[in-house]
């Protein structure tokens, strides 16, 4: 890693004509790979491992000293009612924010694949929410959900459904659902785009043959379209799954985990413990749990990607 070697490697522009593949693949390749790998290890891999270490301590995040407490942080979790709540919320969140966007996205893609005018504009509009910062999405929807002034309740009152106008973000029964709505809103775009691209790659002849054979539309959908979309399904589901474990921004900004602890998820509960309750050890243990689950769930995807590309 010394600057001398780097300068050497960089200055060598015309190597001797030795077709020594092994050597070429060696030193030079490592020089190319090094910056990214260095950054990656220093700022991602090493901290992740350190977190694992901290999760076995009772460190408060501040003092110079701490004790190793083994698995105490982990065994404490099942008896922490907020952890239970957070796990349940994470599961609900994952299921809802995968199923709805994927189904809606597929439906939109199917419709957009047909005879429709203004496809680029429509495509663009449905993906727009995804480029907004999550804090902005949280602000916008928090503003829409305002019990007195918000558009949602105003609309309900307008159409005579006054009884349905309620403090969506302010009660346990509706808070999580209320936060999931903007999550779906912004997550529809990506599956839609993917399915659209995949649909356009399906051979139209198959449909014609099936029509000639007398297959109904729904039969064609289930027996031609869906199977052809299998690679797209895989990608969409895998990436959505990975994404949904990371939820933090939207909940933090919209409800701050509340009311009470009704919308706490593992990510936000970790934050509270580390940065507000001075329990860094316990907090990182929570982070470790969710990371382990996320990795376990995603390993098939990672493996398939590596295999495909290592070929």
């Amino acid at each position: 890693m010394s600057t001398a070697t780097i300068a050497q490697g960089a200055a060598t522009s015309a190597p001797p004509r030795r077709r020594s593949r092994a050597n070429r693949g060696g030193a030079t390749a490592w020089l190319f790979a090094l910056p990214a790998l260095a950054v990656y290890f220093v700022f991602l891999v090493y901290p992740a491992v350190q977190s694992l270490y901290f999760s076995f301590t009772d460190w408060d995040g501040l003092s110079a000293t701490y004790n190793i407490v083994g698995l105490d942080n982990y065994t404490a979790m099942p008896s922490d009612p907020v952890v239970i709540q957070a796990v349940i919320n994470n599961i609900i969140w994952t299921v809802v924010t995968i199923v709805f966007p994927v189904v809606i996205g597929l439906a939109l893609a199917m419709l957009l694949n047909g005879k429709v005018r203004g496809k680029p504009a429509l495509r663009m509009i449905f993906y727009t929410p995804a480029v907004l910062p999550l804090v902005a999405v949280a602000s916008i929807w928090g503003w829409l959900y305002n019990p007195q002034f918000g558009a949602i309740n105003s609309f309900l009152r307008l159409i005579g459904l006054d009884s349905l106008a309620q403090p969506w973000l302010g009660q346990d029964s509706t808070a999580l659902a209320a936060v999931m709505v903007p999550a779906i809103w912004l997550r529809v775009g990506f599956p839609m785009l993917l399915y659209l691209a995949a649909l356009q790659g399906i051979n139209a002849d198959m449909y014609e043959a099936a029509t000639v054979d007398g297959a109904s539309r729904s039969q064609q959908f289930w027996h031609i379209t869906m199977p052809s979309l299998r690679p797209a399904h895989y990608i969409v589901l895998a990436l959505s799954l990975i994404d949904s474990f990371k939820v933090f921004d939207l909940i933090y900004a919209m409800t701050y985990g509340g009311p009470g602890t009704a919308t706490q998820v593992m990510g936000t509960w970790m934050y509270f413990n580390v940065f507000q309750y001075y329990k860094a050890g316990y907090g990182t243990a929570i982070a470790v749990v969710i990371t382990v689950v996320a990795i376990a769930v995603s390993i098939p995807y990672v493996r398939s990607q590596t295999k495909e590309h290592a070929a």
Binding site: P167, G258, Y278
Partner: protein, 436 residues
């Protein structure tokens, strides 16, 4: 081709930086509380910049910045003022804690007393101000009860400048309309008054549950009423069990206020900063708040203090206490220039500075609210304000217990937990804390 030399240099720079940081990360692996990186505004004691972190709202932040500018001119310093208003004691302490945890907090910060300020002393982030108390004679400039509120574990760690009491602030016209001739003197009268106001078509109490601390003021008043001063104080430190009839009654009454529509519909989900001004706007008859409302809500809306009134919430006890709290300035133990920072604090707590900030609840002796400009605050400070007070609940408990309490309070109002269960849950939460 033309971009190549630049990119190579960039590449060299980056790997050098990565190497440097990597090394630092390795050596800095053991977490160190007294981390390097200097103090808040540069290392050593000669820094010329100070940073103040506070929660003045949009109206008063300008006044504070004018004051610090004056100080800067007189002292050759540059002071920046950052402010994070809006959520009361919910997000601000959170932000402050994160900042200090990162090793680079502000030189001076404003903070509430009690268990909100205590963690910063426990974590040794707030400096011991004993020497500055002596130097500037704060003991004689501030009331002893206020100083008590900023003394933790025997250490004077804060300089109080606000001493506020929670009371009922009401709209005289709406009281008249409801046929209420004088503020209620007993809890029964208060309930009757609520019914009258409701009958006249207005919401009685303007309170809101977002963040928990506003609607908590109602509950702790109800608790003082059913439990009385001594029991209340013992409950706050976990010396007595919360699982008892007085607490259950308090929770039952709490739910009653909502069920009888004496508080706004959907109060739990409403934001206090939206709802509290309702008593000024004529949507609600009264609210439960402190003296800052006179300039912050009444006068800010160009209304006259004479159209409003203030009354202590009746507790049916021989000593009518109210909920109260202090706010003050703390000094960063790692400040780049503690002496100048202390001087700035002293400057800010001068009676003239306090008056310039238009605080209706200044604790500083000589800066009491002026009868002419802030009549209601003056009336309060000289009257019921002199009565003893109990520490406001969200300062009585550390954040985790306060959050648990807010959750219980929220569950009671939503009906998912009965008052009896709520009392038990409070006991669990508080006793766990009291033991540690």
């Amino acid at each position: 081709m033309t971009g190549r030399p630049i990119t190579r240099r960039g590449f060299l720079g980056l790997s050098a930086a990565a190497a440097g940081v990597g090394l630092a990360a390795c050596t800095g692996a053991a977490p160190s509380g007294s981390a390097g990186g200097g103090g808040a505004s540069g290392s050593g004691s000669g820094a010329t910049t100070l940073r103040v972190f506070t929660y003045e709202d949009n109206q008063t932040i300008g006044l504070l910045r004018d004051l610090t500018k004056k100080f800067d001119e007189q002292n050759g310093m540059t002071t920046t003022v950052d402010s994070l208003p809006g959520s009361g004691a919910a997000v601000y302490p959170d932000k402050l804690k994160t900042e200090l945890l990162g090793g680079k907090g502000p030189d001076i910060w404003r903070i509430w007393g009690g268990e909100i300020g205590h963690p910063f002393v426990k974590a040794k982030q707030a400096a011991d101000l004993t020497q500055y108390y002596q130097k500037y004679g704060w003991d004689s400039k501030l009331p002893p009860t206020a100083i008590e509120g900023m003394t933790f574990d025997g250490v004077k760690a804060g300089v109080p400048f606000i001493a506020a009491g929670i009371a009922g602030w009401y709209n005289k016209a709406l009281f008249e309309k409801a046929g209420i001739s004088a503020p209620p003197k007993s809890y029964a009268e208060l309930e009757e008054a609520n019914e009258k106001i409701l009958a006249s078509g207005k919401t009685p109490l303007a309170t809101a549950g977002k963040y928990g601390w506003h609607i908590m003021r109602l509950f702790e008043y109800l608790l003082e009423t059913t439990a009385g001063p001594e029991l209340h104080d013992k409950l706050l430190v976990g010396q007595e069990s919360w699982d008892r009839p007085e607490v259950v009654t308090a929770f039952t009454n709490f739910k009653k206020w909502q069920d009888k529509k004496w508080i706004p519909d959907g109060a739990l989900g409403l934001d206090p900063s939206d709802v509290e001004p309702w008593y000024v706007q004529g949507k609600a008859a009264y609210t439960i708040t402190g003296q800052w409302t006179e300039s912050g809500a009444i006068q800010a809306a160009d209304k006259k203090s004479s159209d409003f009134g203030v009354f202590p919430f009746p507790t049916d006890q021989s000593t009518v206490r109210h909920s109260g709290f202090v706010e003050g300035y703390m000094l960063n133990a790692k400040s780049g220039n503690p002496d100048k920072a202390a001087a700035l604090i002293d400057f800010l707590v001068q009676p003239d500075s306090q008056k310039a900030m238009k605080y209706g609840q200044s604790a500083v002796i000589g800066a009491e609210p002026d009868k002419a400009t802030l009549p209601l605050s003056a009336e309060w400070t000289q009257g019921p304000g002199r009565q003893p007070f109990y520490t406001i609940q969200d300062q009585a408990f550390p954040k985790q217990q306060a959050d648990q309490y807010f959750a219980i309070q929220s569950n009671v109002l939503q009906g998912s937990v009965t008052p009896a269960e709520a009392a038990k849950q409070m006991q669990q939460a508080i006793s766990a804390w009291a033991k540690s």
